[in-house]
Each structure stands twice: as C-alpha cells, then as structure tokens.
C-alpha cells in the first residue's frame, strides 16, 4: 500500500507561505518549554545552530556527537562560501532570483515552497553570523565582500578566506557552548547514535554507544532531531571526513522514516586526483577557484607534454567552448560530466589520465599574484602540501569526486519526517537541492534549517505532546538497547579474515563504477548483485579486533560500513527505477543528442521516497508529486 505523503506546504502565494505558516503554528508557552526534552544528534551547521537556538528558546536540549567536541563536524571543511540574496552588489539579485537559480540548479526536482523559504532566510543568516563575530571578507570601506559561484550570474557568495564553513561553524559552536554553560543544553561528546526508538508510531528517543567505555544507553525525549549529514562516504573515496556516515539516518529509515531520492549524489568537479592505493580520502579544491581559474585539457589525445609546453592554440577550454554564457562557472554536475567526457576521450592529464587542468596563469597576469593570494592563499597552500606542485607556477590538476548527497530522509515543509516527532535537518534531509546542489548552498541550508526553521516548526508538534514522554525503562527502549548490543556483538564475533576498510574500499569501487557519474540499467543491475554478495561475505568474514567495552575504532567503522552496504543497495534500486537523467543522476540511456541530461517530467516529476520493508524484502516506493506553481518547467541550459 502506498501512503499519502503530505508535504504540508501552506496555502497562499509562494512568497507569503512562510510568513503565513509562522503566524499559524501552535506555540509552546515559554514557562512550559523547559519541561520538554529535545534530542539533537550531530552538531554541524544544522545541528549546532538548532541545538543552540532551541536552548535559547528555553527547551531542555540534549546534543549528541561522536567527536570529542561539537566543533569538529564536517561542516568545518566547507571552503568557498555561503549564498545570500542581499544584492549588496547591485547586480540584480533578489530572493526570487536565488530561489529560481536553486530550483533550476536542482534540475526541477526540489520542492518550490522549501526553496523559496530558504532564499528568504538567506539574508537573516548573514545578519546572524555577522552579529556572532564571523569574520567575513570585507571591502576597504568596511562593507561585506562577495564573489561568484557556479550556476549563477550574480555575486552573492559571502566568504571568510577559504574557511567559510569553519567560521560559520564556530559561530554556531560558540552559540552552542554558551547554551551549555547556561545549562539549557547538555552536551554528550563521543557518543554515537545507533538506533531510533519509535513508540506507537512516534519518535521518542535514541540509543547510543559511549565511544570511550562502550556502554549502550537509552535516552528519551519528546522529539528527536537528526542533523547527521550526508552519505557519500558510501563511495569510500570522497571529500567527506573519514567518520562521516549514514548510520543515524539509516537506523531511522529502518524504524520507519522514508528515504527520499537516495540516488541524487553530487560529484564535485574540482578535487585533487587520487595518487595511489593508499589514498584515504579526496581533497576538494573550492568551487570559488573557478571564478579565476580556467579549465582545460589538450586538444589532441595522448598529449604527454607538460602544461606549459602546450601552446594556447592546442588547448581546449571545454567549459568555455560548450557553455559560453556560464563558462568555467557551469554548475557542478555539468562541469563534472564534461571532465569525465574529455578524459574518456583520452585527453585527460596526469599519470592516470583522469584529470584536467585548472589554470590560474591568466588571472595572475591580470590581477597580480597578491590578489590571487588574498583570495585563495590557503587553498593554494593546501594543494601545494598535498601534491608538492606550486599552483602559482603550474596549473592545478583536478578531477571530480563524490562530495554531497542531495537525497536524504523525507521531510515535510516543517522538516518533520513521516515518523511524527522525528525531524531531519541539513544534508541529512532531501528537501532543498533537488537533483543537484549549487555551490555555497549547503551552508545556507544547514543554517536556515537550524537557526530559523526547526526552532519554529517543532513547537507546532510539541504543543500536542505535553506530558507524553516515555520512560527509558519501558519495553521499547529495553528492546532497542538489546538489538543494538546484539549487533555490536555480531560484528565482533564474526572474527573473519578481512579488515573493515578492505570491504569499504571494495564497496566504494562498485558504487563509483556503476552508481557514480554515469549510470546504466545494466551496470546498476550488476552492482546490485555484487553488493548483495559482498555484504553477505562481510557479515561472515569481517575482522573486528578488540572488544566492545573500550574505545574501538574498528568496531565504530564496522557498524557504519554495514549500514553503507544496505544504503548502497537502495541507491542502486532508486537509480535503476528513475529512468531519466536529472542533475547528478545521469543515466546514459537518457541523454540529449549533445550529451546533456534528459529529464522525463511526464513520468518522473516526483520525489521518490522509499519505505523499508524488512530484511530480504524489496523496499516500497512512495511518490510525492512535485507541483510547480511559480516556475515553468524548462530544459536546463547553461549555454
């Protein structure tokens, strides 16, 4: 049976929906707020801003992170910037334009009302961050500076050197630490969420493992908020931090939360290419570099000359050639596919042939080395450290890598999943980026959700839940604790022959090959067989050393990789069912004559939300139709 997915989008004109909704949510009396417990899992931009803001409102918050401090969350690694429709540059920007760019950038697969709200809130985020002391770049007159990002023709990106994510996260982290000191938030560091507790259909708590002593514990609350990030570490090699994982959202999925659009993953065009088997992760080079860097490959195949020996006339600046109006600032999905295409043609550079140049020679000539240093200094240094090549002298070598997941748990307009009481914010939900995310929009979404949306919408639910907390001694909690304990023992007791990492690498290889930048029905079917076989072998043959009663990094990884196996399968199932190409989901069978993504709006204009049906059963697809009231569906063009 398929369920009705109610997106709860408010009525009225698009631009008035959020104002209307805010004025009509049920409220919780300020004196009663401290009687509600809210669990927030994760303290990246979304989780930290939510936990801090909920604490400020007076709720009783418990915040869980697996790091030693909330400030380590992977939001910290975001480099380039955060979008906001401030129109400080007088270049014709507006809330509508940011909304429109995001819908188009997402290849018309996002929910209009959510995206419009995001664009509205973008301006408040900048105000809030500046008030917190985030040192955004400034002009000499003291006003805030902006730069451009991919997929847009205005300058609306705010930045703090190449460390925008770090500085925004510190703003949220400091707000959170302030609430911890005030006692409204109780912080649990080095705790990993391993299950969601659902009682009579409502989210009532979580099960955690203490990563220092291994204790498995139950925590009850009136609502649970997941801000646990994305899942592209399923590919093993990605730009995500090593610990980034899908366990929290996957456990919630197995307890009833629908997983929406799992096949929408973003492959970022500008990452440092892999240099060997030992490689543990890939490093992103910010998209902001494409403001001044020009991307090219040699015109002829197998050209082994160094970049400086290749004369101008023998270079192919393929993005400028194919997409003259956006040039090097074409959106990520398009730039990545174009890089793959030229490498497939045998024109890739570097020892592996899987790379393209990102060249700053013209920009340095035009602007001087000092300006380039000011704009990108730390990125150039990082590139130099990793590759031992000086990008001021030689063009950077780059190649696409998995970076972000647009898919995630399904949520309604209020950011609540289909499981009442379970909220999902930031990258962990599916809501705002459709099939492709534009640069500098992830920070915007995480903070919009955490500072401004969730703290308001959650009251509407909590107002109906007064005094309905469940005791952790009740059967549902005790059972869940036992389930988690059993799973931990199963991993340790397998006592097999192969390390967790070796399995993860193999899984990642399958996913990159068949569910990466280009997908086909044939490849996906093959992948499904391979994943199932490997997963079966994993549970039998994985080797986890040590015990469950101590810090055990192998055990932590083992649980996460076990969940990646199941998620990988769902990603392939989703990619197989979506017989169209849209944004980051490129099915080779569905492309235009010139190789662009071909959508099928008649058949696939919906959010595909999957329901877990138990071990060994096929998941069931539920559809939320996408209704475009404001934007006219069009073929996405950046030419």
């Amino acid at each position: 049976m398929t369920m009705q997915l109610d997106s709860k989008v408010p009525h009225g004109p698009l631009a008035d929906k959020w104002a209307y909704a805010k004025s009509h949510y049920k409220l919780v009396n300020p004196a009663n707020k401290r009687k509600y417990d809210i669990i927030v899992v994760g303290a990246g931009l979304a989780g930290a801003s939510a936990a801090a803001s909920l604490g400020e409102l007076g709720y009783n918050v418990k915040c869980f992170v697996y790091h030693d401090s909330p400030r380590r969350a992977h939001s910290i690694a975001a480099q380039g910037g955060i979008n906001a429709a401030k129109n400080y540059r007088n270049d014709g920007d507006s809330i509508y334009r940011l909304f429109y760019d995001t819908i188009k950038g997402g290849d018309y697969r996002a929910r209009e009302a959510n995206v419009h709200r995001l664009a509205e809130l973008s301006v408040n985020i900048i105000d809030q961050a500046v008030a917190q002391g985030v040192p955004f770049a400034r002009e000499y007159g003291g006003a805030l500076e902006n730069r451009s990002f991919g997929g847009v023709q205005v300058s609306r990106t705010f930045y703090a050197r190449g460390q925008t994510g770090q500085q925004l996260l510190l703003g949220a982290f400091q707000a959170l630490e302030r609430q911890i000191a005030l006692g409204t938030v109780k912080q649990f560091n080095r705790y990993e969420m391993l299950d969601l507790v659902v009682v009579d259909g409502q989210a009532k708590g979580i099960i955690t493992r203490n990563l220092v002593n291994g204790k498995i514990e139950a925590h009850a609350a009136d609502a649970v908020v997941l801000g646990t990030g994305g899942y592209v570490n399923v590919f093993y090699l990605s730009t995500n931090a090593k610990a980034s994982n899908a366990t929290a959202i996957w456990r919630a999925h197995k307890r009833g939360a629908l997983f929406a659009n799992p096949c929408y993953t973003q492959i970022h065009p500008t990452c440092i290419p892999q240099s060997g088997d030992f490689q543990s992760k890939l490093t992103l080079m910010s998209e902001s570099l494409r403001n001044d860097g020009r991307i090219w490959v040699p015109k002829s195949q197998g050209d082994t000359r160094g970049p400086k020996q290749i004369p101008e006339a023998e270079r192919d600046y393929y993005l400028e050639r194919k997409y003259p109006s956006f040039g090097n600032l074409a959106p990520r999905d398009i730039a990545s596919r174009a890089a793959k295409e030229v490498c497939d043609e045998g024109r890739g550079i570097g020892s592996s042939g899987r790379g393209v140049y990102l060249d700053f020679a013209d920009a340095i000539k035009r602007l001087g080395r000092k300006t380039i240093e000011e704009r990108y200094g730390n990125l150039f240094e990082m590139y130099h450290d990793i590759t031992a090549e000086d990008p001021y002298e030689l063009p950077m070598r780059i190649y696409p890598a998995p970076h972000y997941s647009m898919g995630g748990l399904w949520v309604d307009y209020n950011l609540m999943s289909n499981v009442p009481g379970l909220y999902v914010i930031g990258e962990a939900n599916f809501s705002d980026h459709g099939a492709n995310r534009l640069g500098a929009s992830a920070l915007m979404q995480g903070l919009a959700d955490g500072y401004f949306v969730l703290p308001v919408t959650i009251g509407d639910y909590l107002a109906t839940q007064f005094g309905k907390k469940i005791d952790v001694k009740s059967a549902s909690f005790v059972d869940a604790v036992n389930d988690v304990g059993q799973r931990v023992s199963q991993l340790i007791d397998a006592k097999g022959t192969r390390s967790v990492d070796s399995y993860h690498k193999e899984l990642g290889g399958i996913m990159w090959e068949h569910c990466g930048m280009a997908r086909s029905a044939e490849g996906l079917k093959k992948a499904l067989v391979m994943i199932r076989e490997l997963r079966e072998q994993y549970w039998r043959d994985v080797r986890v050393t040590g015990t469950g009663e101590e810090p055990n990094q192998a055990l932590e990884k083992a649980g996460r990789v076990a969940d990646f196996f199941e998620l990988a399968e769902l990603m392939c199932i989703d990619a197989l069912h979506r017989e169209e190409s849209a944004g980051g989901h490129f099915r080779v069978e569905y492309q235009t004559p010139d190789g662009e993504a071909q959508r099928d709006d008649d058949k696939f204009l919906y959010v595909g939300a999957w329901e877990y049906k138990g071990e060994g059963n096929e998941p069931v697809l539920h559809k939320e139709p996408l209704v475009y009231e404001e934007v006219k569906l069009a073929t996405r063009s950046y030419k």
Partner: protein, 247 residues
C-alpha cells in the same frame, strides 16, 4: 620507502603505556602521515592485532581532530601544518620515527594516541562567544568593519583547537588557544560589550586547567595555523585593563 616506528600504545586512561616498534614498509612519499599509519594498521589487523588508535577526521587540516608528537614535535617537523597534511616526502627512507600522544597534564590519554582535550571547550564555555540570540541580529552592513581589523580577527579565528600549543609547551599552557579566541572576538566591534568580562572569565577557567605562560614561544612554532604569540600580549593587556579597571 621503509620506516621504523616507535609508537606509544596505551590500552586505557589508567593502563600503563609503552613504546612498541613497528615497521612501515613500501610507503609512498605522496602518502600523508596518517595514510602511512593506515597502512601499518591494515597490517596489524591482518595479524589479528589491534590497530593503533589515533584521532582524525577531515584530513584536510581544518577539523583539528588529529595531532601527535612526531619525534618530539607536535604535528611533526614541517611546521605550519596539521599531522594529516604532513606528507611522507618530508621523511627519508630508513628513518626512525617516534610517535606519542599529546603530552600535557590537562589532556589525559584515552587510548594510544587519543587524548581528552575537553578542557579547551570549557574555556570557550566561559566566554568564547558573543551573546546574541538567534533572531536578534541587525542588518549585517549597518556595522562597517575596516578590512585590516577584519583580517586581523580572521588571523586569530583560524585556530583549529587541535591542542598542539598545549602539547608543545613545557608548562602545558593554553595561552595561545585562549588568546586567539579572545582576540578574534575582542578585535571586532560586535565583541566590545563583553570584552572585559570575556577575558576575565576565560583566563580564570584556563588557569584552572592549564599551566602558566613563561614565553617559550614553542606554541607559535608548532601551530598549524601559524597563529602569532602577539595575541598573547594582546590578551594580557586586555586582562590587565579588565582586572584593574584601566578601561
């Protein structure tokens, strides 16, 4: 390249630790120091031994998770870099490398190379913020900030809270960390209302956990973000002004 490692192994906080020798063989000079340890750990797992535990996450030098004493130097010989951004090309084939956890009274060992750095968060809780609730901010451009002031604040704000400054300091002091946050916020106009309160409270908590500064400047030498000890002088001036009412 091949290396000999002497790695500090310690089962738990209260267990006794010791150096254990391992061989790291066939290491690519392009591998990072942590990737070299990954290779060693795969070998240990194959042999059924427990891998060396170390903290790490982003591996891009920004999250501040990683850090170890490498031949007695926090984050290793390169300087201006976190351990994850230290590459093996900076070592020679046949080198012997000693690897220890951060050494500081305030940072007890949790396991192997993992230490408890939570006192640093306690310092932030004492005042490392600007008290502005969500929703009460004014329009961002109503407050112009001169570019040099913003740049200076950013220099301080780059701190990644890795704890190298404490680990390298003979006194186990956290002055550089604390001064960086006090300066980041205290340089900006937004940070003025709480400026004096902030420095008094943060310094008090700092002193309850960490040693005193006697100007060795070892912290600056190992800081992966090359944060200047000038900020410590600035903190001291602020502290005196706050303490003795010279405001």
């Amino acid at each position: 390249m091949d290396l000999t490692l002497h790695v500090w192994r310690q089962k738990s906080r209260d267990a006794e630790g010791k150096f254990v020798e391992y061989k790291a063989t066939g290491i690519s000079p392009d591998a990072s120091f942590l990737e070299m340890l990954d290779v060693v750990n795969e070998g240990l797992t194959e042999k059924g031994e427990e891998p060396i535990h170390f903290e790490h996450d982003c591996r891009e030098g920004i999250c501040g998770s990683c850090g170890m004493m490498i031949n007695g130097i926090a984050h290793g010989p390169l300087g201006g870099t976190a351990t994850c951004q230290l590459h093996m090309r900076h070592f020679n084939d046949g080198d012997t490398v000693a690897i220890e956890p951060w050494r500081a009274r305030a940072f007890p060992v949790i396991k192997d190379l993992i230490v408890d750095r939570s006192p640093l968060d306690k310092i932030i809780q004492a005042g490392g913020f600007i008290s502005v609730n969500t929703g009460s901010a004014v329009e961002a451009n109503t407050l112009p900030i001169p570019k040099p002031v913003q740049e200076r604040a950013m220099d301080a704000a780059e701190c990644i809270q890795c704890g190298a400054c404490v680990a390298q300091c003979p006194n186990g002091a956290a002055q550089l960390f604390t001064a960086a946050k006090i300066s980041h916020l205290g340089l900006l106009p937004q940070g003025q209302p709480e400026r004096h309160e902030r420095v008094l409270n943060m310094v008090e908590v700092m002193e309850s956990y960490f040693g005193s500064c006697t100007l060795f400047r070892e912290c600056e030498a190992v800081c992966p973000k090359e944060i200047s000890v000038d900020f410590i002088s600035r903190m001291n001036r602020d502290y005196i002004a706050a303490k003795f009412g010279v405001r």
